[in-house]
């Protein structure tokens, strides 16, 4: 069992994290280095398809045990409830008004697919396996938090007269439930599950062998996005930046305990911690912009993207992994 420091260091000098760092520096220095948007969208789709398909094949080989159902229930529970914790903290510890606090809260109930994928890469190095059902959790956790966030906003804003109470219109509901990532993750999961080993022989040369390298390149692009936004901190404010650092820790703790409770493996526990710790920066912002326009994207996007994402990627993943080892060892 490698020590926390050890694995933290290994993580630091992995191509993944180093390319991310390169991106951050280049973006911060305003280099014109940029991955064309369609390419980065394509890489994101690749990562989701690959992770979904692998998860499905894993499910096929190990069968759908009771944990699968438990895992899905846990996913929904976490995504629905975590925004309540986040909202309480935000209202107590920061100056955010109701709509902004509600919007931020929704982000932390949801998840970051890339952080999850990076964590699977981290586990991959240590050849530690994980349950396919965790991939289903990834897909399920993306949207419920949005509902909670909007309900919180609604409750808090109803007093304030004249305010159009934020509604989750049928359209928006359909959109978030059918959002690109959800559909691709679940679809690939099903296809992987249906085609199993044979399917994997077909897909492996594209989705297994080059996977980590593609992830590294994608993280370069993420780094560029983060680096360009580092300056937005001022807009965010330190009490909020602090939230972006301790909220993941709380989330990870909740994730680890509940994951242990439903009997997931070391890998599974680590990944659930990552899910609970991570914050959405694509699906939820889009939904908030439509359903809660009173909240300011210049607050929730940098917080989730430029604070929590890098923290999880560099410090969080090895930390949650060490904690998972410790808990698993109990």
């Amino acid at each position: 069992m490698d020590t926390l420091l050890q694995s933290a260091l290994d993580n630091l000098i992995s191509p993944m994290v180093l390319f991310f760092a390169l991106g951050v520096v280049a973006g911060w220095l305003k280099s014109d280095l940029a991955i064309p948007e369609p390419i980065s969208k394509g890489l994101a789709l690749y990562l989701m398809l690959a992770i979904g398909f692998k998860g499905g094949v894993e499910l096929a080989s190990n069968g759908l045990g009771g944990t699968v159902v438990a895992a899905m229930a846990l996913a929904l529970a976490l995504s629905f409830s975590m925004p309540l914790l986040a909202y309480a903290l935000l209202r107590a510890a920061t100056r955010l008004d109701v709509p902004n606090a509600a919007a931020v809260a929704a982000h932390y109930g949801s998840v970051s697919v890339v952080t999850f994928v990076a964590a699977t890469g981290f586990l991959g190095y240590r050849s530690i396996s994980y349950e396919g059902s965790v991939v289903a959790m990834l897909a399920l956790m993306e949207t419920p938090a949005i509902v909670t966030g909007l309900l919180l906003a609604r409750r808090g804003m109803s007093e304030a007269a004249g305010n159009r109470a934020p509604l989750l219109s049928a359209d928006v509901t359909r959109e978030v439930i059918l959002s690109s990532s959800v559909v691709l993750l679940i679809g690939s999961l099903l296809i992987g599950w249906m085609t199993g080993k044979d399917g994997m022989t077909v897909m492996a040369p594209a989705i297994v062998d080059p996977f980590k390298a593609v992830l590294a390149v994608f993280l370069l692009d993420m780094g560029l996005l983060v680096g360009r936004r580092l300056r937005d901190f001022r807009a965010v404010g330190w009490s909020l930046v602090a939230f972006g650092l301790y909220m993941p820790l709380l989330g990870a703790m909740v994730g680890l305990i509940t994951a242990k409770a439903i009997g997931l493996s070391l890998g599974g526990m680590t990944l659930v911690a990552v899910l609970a710790a991570s914050a959405s920066y694509i699906v939820v912002p889009a939904a908030m912009r439509i359903s809660l326009p009173q909240a300011n994207p210049a607050i929730y996007v940098p917080l989730s993207l430029a604070v929590t994402f890098p923290f999880n990627l560099i410090v969080g993943i090895p930390l949650y992994y060490a904690a998972a080892q410790w808990i698993a060892g109990m």
Partner: protein, 103 residues
């Protein structure tokens, strides 16, 4: 000689997240068509907007409608409400078109 017809040209530059609502309004008030230029960036009250990487949150689109005076004024009436809390501008000008039946 080809006949020209006086119309209004309404150019709405708005954040992508609001585009659908605007277009639905445009059609609901009876405009026969519209043109959409997606992927436009810009700067305004709500700061710089030019990051298509992350969903539509920081992307603008430009919606152009050619319509008769009366329908145009309906669009103008509806716009402020739809743009509340959103980044967006509405620019109106006088134009002439051929093929009146299109409008």
């Amino acid at each position: 000689m080809v006949q020209l017809y006086r119309k209004k040209r309404i150019e709405i530059t708005v954040e992508a997240a609001r585009a659908r609502a605007i277009i639905e309004m445009i059609e609901s008030v009876g405009a026969k068509g519209y043109t959409l230029v997606s992927e436009v960036s810009g700067k305004g009250n709500r700061g710089v907007r030019n990051d298509a990487h992350l969903s539509d949150v920081f992307r603008n689109v430009m919606i152009i409608v050619i319509a008769a005076e009366e329908i145009a004024s309906r669009i103008i009436e509806q716009s402020p409400g739809l743009l509340e809390n959103y980044a967006g501008i509405v620019v109106v000008s006088d134009v002439e078109v051929i093929r009146d039946e299109h409008f």
